[in-house]
Each structure stands twice: as structure tokens, then as C-alpha cells.
């Protein structure tokens, strides 16, 4: 072989080998989220958070590039199942972030665990997700019990509520949250006058508000539904003079589900609304303020990030941290996540318990909506 030809072949072989190594040094992250259907606003906000986080790791982490592929799972168990199978087959992810809706998250959990791929959940509350013994499932969103128990305690102990009407959407998430409130509230001596569930297709809440008004003295109304329905529900309750925002006496209570901006949408009906929040854009922590600034710089000065943006952003931070600590495939990333303790993100600090559930809820706090629709942080816990 002539020297020139030999050199060319050697160079080509080296290039191919280098390319193979470079391709291998990638951590693939599949994102299963609703891009279509009524829950698609989750997908939009998730993507905003993820894209922003990826900018921080443009040059890779620990020599690994983070590669993301978005898929539409539509908040639907069936579509999420099919999408999970397809992405496992074609993209071969090391981590899958998703889904947002509890029913869809539950549907993909066994598939991902069977394939030994890490499932990182950022928005579902159903208890079953981390109570079913899945070894590859982790969740950075507080579960139903973690959200409902403080609500029940504050309702009974701080607000001195003795009667409640629980309102929830008819989903795994809604039912788990409702149950999570009912049991401890009744155990403390409170009385649940009614538990009212409704489908996601219910639009007009006047009849429900009328029914609640007819139930007599109601102290608190824990509510578990998506933002759009919550807005309409609060307005109907105000019109029926049930809640404080309409001149009534009952306090409506909400969970972390409700994104920042609900109060402005519900208007005066939101006055007096008490809820727990995990991500608070007004929180003074540097991590939070840096995130808010970066978010506004990228998406517009008038756009305030919601907890959905923040949780998705945090998911990438968490994967990157696992990679920084030596994770490079599903197994090693899983090991690193299992060991994760006190890792600071915008929604607090992440420490997973043995079941893969986030356990540090130190930043979770209560806020009350004021007359001018701003939040007043409350030191209740």
C-alpha cells in the first residue's frame, strides 16, 4: 500500500472510531408528554423548561452530551404506552421524563421498568407510581399524600375547619388527593360533608356550586383539578356566595397542581384561596431567581415560569448531576439518583427515599391569595 493511501485509510479508520466513541458518549433522554389534547399545555411548559436547562449543558456533562427526544403521549394511557414502546425501540433512551398525567405515568411505568430504563416523573401525584415497587421510577413531584396531608392539618389545626366538601377531577390523581385529605381530616375529628368528583369535560360548575351552597356550613373546600376547571369552579363558588372571594365564608384550598397565574385568571373569586406551593417565583433563593431571570430572558419579560416549567427544568438538572457523578447509562444513572441527597433545584432540594419518591419538602409552603390577587406567604406547615 502506498504511503498516501495508507495514511488516508488510517485517518478514515480513526475518524470512524472517534465518531463511534463520540456517538457512544451521549446520554439519551426521552420526554413523553402531552403535546396534543386538552393537557397539551403541560407539554408546552415542559419543553420550555427542558430547552432552557439544556442551554446550560450545551457543552455536555462529564464528556457526555445530553440528547433529548420529545414524544407526544397525550395524557392518555394508551398513547403513552405505544409511545413508550416506540421510543424504547427506536431512540433507546437511558432516561425517560414523563408523563405528566397520573394515568399515563402509571401506564408507562411497568414498560420502562421492564426495559430497565429510568423513569423520571415530574408532575403526577398518584400514590401507586412510587408505591408499586418499581426500581427505575423516580419522582420529583410531591405525591398525593405529601400534598393532601399538610392541607388537612392546616385546615383542621390552623383554619379550625370542622366541615369540608372535597372537589376533585375523576382521575387517579384527583381521587388519590381527595382520599389523602379525607382520611387525616376525619381522623382529626373533621367531617367531610360531600366528596364531589367531575370529569375533565365538565364546563359549567353552577349546579355544583348550588349543591355546595345547599349543604349548610362548609369551612373548607379542598380542590384538586387542572387550572382551567379550577378557574371556572372558583368563579361559580363565588357567584353562589360560598367562598370568601364571593362574600361567603368557606376557604377554598388547593394543591401544587395549580400553576402560578391561576389567581389572575380567576379574578376576585380567588381572594382568600389558600394553597401549598412548591415552586414560588417570588422565592428569594438564588437558584430560583436565576431561573426566573433566564426564563424571562429566553421567553419574554412578561412571562413568569410556572411549577410545570420549573419541574421540567429540574429534571434535566437532576439527570445532568447524575451524569456528573459518573452516571452514563440507565443502570448507573439509576444508581446515582438513588444516592442523591440534598441536591438543590428550583423546586427545593432533591433527596429520594427508598421508593424513588422525593422526600425533602422543606420549600413547600402555604400561600394565601390577597385582594389584589398577589400571594401572601404563610408560615404554616
Amino acid at each position: 500500500m502506498k504511503p498516501l493511501l495508507r495514511t488516508t485509510v488510517a485517518a478514515l479508520a480513526a475518524a470512524v472510531a472517534f465518531s463511534a466513541v463520540a456517538q457512544d458518549r451521549v446520554v439519551r433522554i426521552g420526554v413523553l408528554m402531552p403535546i396534543s389534547g386538552p393537557g397539551s399545555y403541560f407539554g408546552v411548559m415542559d419543553k420550555e423548561g427542558i430547552e432552557l436547562a439544556l442551554e446550560r449543558f450545551r457543552n455536555g456533562v462529564n464528556g457526555y452530551k445530553l440528547q433529548v427526544q420529545y414524544e407526544d403521549s397525550a395524557c392518555s394511557p394508551l398513547q403513552a404506552t405505544n409511545t413508550a414502546k416506540r421510543i424504547l425501540d427506536q431512540f433507546k433512551p437511558h432516561v425517560v421524563i414523563g408523563e405528566e398525567c397520573s394515568d399515563a405515568s402509571l401506564a408507562i411505568a411497568p414498560i420502562l421498568n421492564e426495559a430497565k430504563v429510568v423513569q423520571l416523573n415530574v408532575g403526577s401525584v398518584t400514590m401507586k407510581l412510587t408505591e408499586s415497587g418499581y426500581k427505575y421510577t423516580f419522582r420529583i413531584f410531591p405525591n398525593a399524600e405529601q400534598q393532601s396531608l399538610p392541607l388537612a392539618k392546616v385546615a383542621y389545626n390552623t383554619l379550625k375547619a370542622r366541615t369540608a366538601v372535597i372537589l376533585h377531577e375523576k382521575t387517579n390523581a384527583g381521587s388519590d388527593n381527595a382520599e389523602g385529605f379525607k382520611k387525616p381530616f376525619e381522623a382529626m375529628g373533621g367531617k367531610v360533608l360531600a366528596t364531589i368528583d367531575f370529569g375533565r369535560d365538565v364546563n359549567d360548575f353552577t349546579a355544583i356550586a348550588t349543591r355546595i351552597a345547599s349543604l349548610g356550613k362548609v369551612d373548607v373546600l379542598p380542590t384538586f383539578a387542572l387550572e382551567g376547571q379550577q378557574v371556572r369552579l372558583s368563579q361559580a363558588l363565588a357567584q353562589a356566595k360560598v367562598v370568601k372571594g364571593g362574600g361567603g365564608r368557606a376557604v377554598q384550598m388547593g394543591s401544587i397542581w395549580l400553576p402560578y397565574g391561576y389567581d389572575q385568571k380567576a379574578g376576585q373569586a380567588a381572594e382568600g384561596y389558600v394553597r401549598i406551593v412548591q415552586f414560588d417565583p417570588t422565592e428569594k433563593r438564588k437558584m430560583v431567581q436565576d431561573f426566573v431571570s433566564a426564563f424571562k430572558a429566553k421567553y419574554g419579560a412578561d412571562k413568569v415560569p410556572t411549577h410545570i416549567n420549573a419541574h421540567a427544568y429540574d429534571a434535566i438538572l437532576l439527570v445532568a448531576e447524575a451524569v456528573r457523578r459518573g452516571g452514563h447509562d440507565s443502570e448507573s444513572i439509576r444508581d446515582q439518583l438513588s444516592k442523591m441527597k440534598g441536591f438543590e433545584v428550583t423546586t427545593g432540594t432533591i433527596s429520594f427515599d427508598a421508593k424513588g419518591q422525593t422526600s425533602d419538602l422543606s420549600v413547600v409552603h402555604f400561600v394565601e391569595t390577597q385582594k389584589d390577587l398577589s400571594w401572601k406567604a404563610l408560615n404554616w406547615q
Binding site: 403535546i35 396534543s36 389534547g37 386538552p38 397539551s40 399545555y41 407539554g43 408546552v44 411548559m45 375523576k170 364531589i196 368528583d197 367531575f198 370529569g199 375533565r200 369535560d201 365538565v202 364546563n203 359549567d204 353552577t206 349546579a207 355544583i208 348550588t210 349543591r211 345547599s214 387542572l226 387550572e227 382551567g228 376547571q229 378557574v231 371556572r232 368563579q235 357567584q239 353562589a240 356566595k241 364571593g246 385568571k265 379574578g267
Partner: protein, 304 residues
Amino acid sequence: MSDLVALVVQQSLNGVYLGCLYVMVALGLTLIYGVLNQINFAHADFVTVGAFAAFFTATRLATRVLGLPDAGAYLLSLIVALGVGALLGLAVNAAVFAPLRRGDELRPLIATIGVSVLLENFQLWLFGPIPYQFDSPFSRETIRIGRIFFTAQSLLVVAVSASAIAALYAFMRFTFLGKALRAVAQDRETAGLMGINPNLLIALTIVIASALAGMAGALLGPVIVLTPFAGGTVIVKAFAIVIIGGFGNMQGTILAGILVGIIEAFTVQYLGSGLIDLVVFVLLLAMLVLRPTGLIAERKEENV
């Protein structure tokens, strides 16, 4: 007024209001079926288009450009939504329904599914998936008579629905075009032999039905969670109402709409809101089994 009486009156009013919203959506469906013997699966999306047209008129065009007060802006948005619905009907008829009408009867039906998917995705691209907050100034006004309450918006919904129904009835009964339309509904070929242009009348039917859908969207906008999929949340109920009322029968649709609204309100009160669909669809199945012609028995010449 005793507690029970007040409650019954209140839930009846809630039911009538809800029923009027359903009727506004269902009327267009029944009109198209009555004249064309065809089901329009894109009707929900016409409603959504109307809602978005009203939203942008009320919150941008009328207030920011024309400087109208909120109430005037919302009333204008009803008219704009009606017009946008009519134009959409005209366009979809010319582009899709008219060319397909000559062939197999199944093709226009399938085409309506295609139009529905297309409109949904186009709106998703144009408006995005994040819900829009569409508040009518009339929703903020609560009228209280003793212990009974209702919003000015619900009063407006009932008034607009009643006016639309009356106008449609008068058009059908007392105008030449209305009579011609009924003739086409009864026998398209014979109507054609009498000098009536069936294609023109069919186009008119689709335009009227779409205009009604557009206006229904404007009325629903402040009630529903406004996304590109919003119409889908009421369309299943609207189909049920059309079947319960007697497919293609206007009076039946109105009666069924109000009935379903009232049944829903009392189901919420006494059985639980989670059972609404169960109760409505048991009623639907019962009607199909016991009285397949619907509440008002079908007499072709009296339809539409």
C-alpha cells in the same frame, strides 16, 4: 321561600341555562342532518373557531382597536363569531362537502372527520395549547332575587338562544328560502324539478348551521376552558341531545337540550356530578330502545 323550593328553582334555572348552551351547539347538527341526512363530525371545531373568533374580537379588536367598552365588545364578538362561522361553513362546503356530495354517501361523512382533525391541528398551531382566559363582562354581574342567583351571562345565553331559535323558526316557516329548504329536506330531486337549486340550499344550510356553531362558541367561550379542543367537551352531549330529540327534528332538539340541562343539574344535586354522563347516556339508550324516533316522532315534512 322554603329551602327545598329555592333549591329546586335554582337548579331548574341552572339546568335551563346549561340546556340553552347545549341547544345552541346541537341546533346546527340537527339542521344539517335534517336537510342533508348527514352527520357533521367537524361541528365541534366550528364551535371552537367561533369561540376563538369571539375571544380575539372581544379582547383585542373591539377593546383595543375600536375602543368599545367590555360589554359592547362582547356583544360585537357574538356577531363576529356568527359571521366567522358562516364564512367557515361556506369555505368548507365549497372545498370539501360540495365536491364530495356527488359520490358515495360515506365520503362526506369521512371528510367531516378529516376537516375536524385539520381544524383542530390548525388551531393548535395558530393558538397553541395553553388555555385562554375568556371572561365575559356579563359573567361578573350576579343578579340575586331572594336566594336565587344567576349571572347576566346566563340571562344573555338564554336570550340569545331564544332569539336564535325564534329567528330560525321564522326563517323556515315564513320565508321563501326557508320553505325551499324544507322542500329540499323532504325530497331533493322533486324540489329540483320545481326550480329550486338544491346545491344552493344545501350550501345555505351548512352556512346557517356553521353560523349557529360559531355563535354557540362565542356563548360557550366564557364557560369552557378555551383550547383548540374545547368544542369536543360539549359535542358528545350535543350528539346525545340530537338523538334524544329525534335526529333532524328542531323542536325535539330544543326540548331534549333543555331536558338534558335540567337532568344534569338535578343529577349533580341528588346523585353526584360524577354520574352525569351515566344518567344522560342511560336516557339516550332508553330512548333508542323505547322510542327510536326521539322525543318528537319524526315526520319528515316537519323536520328542520
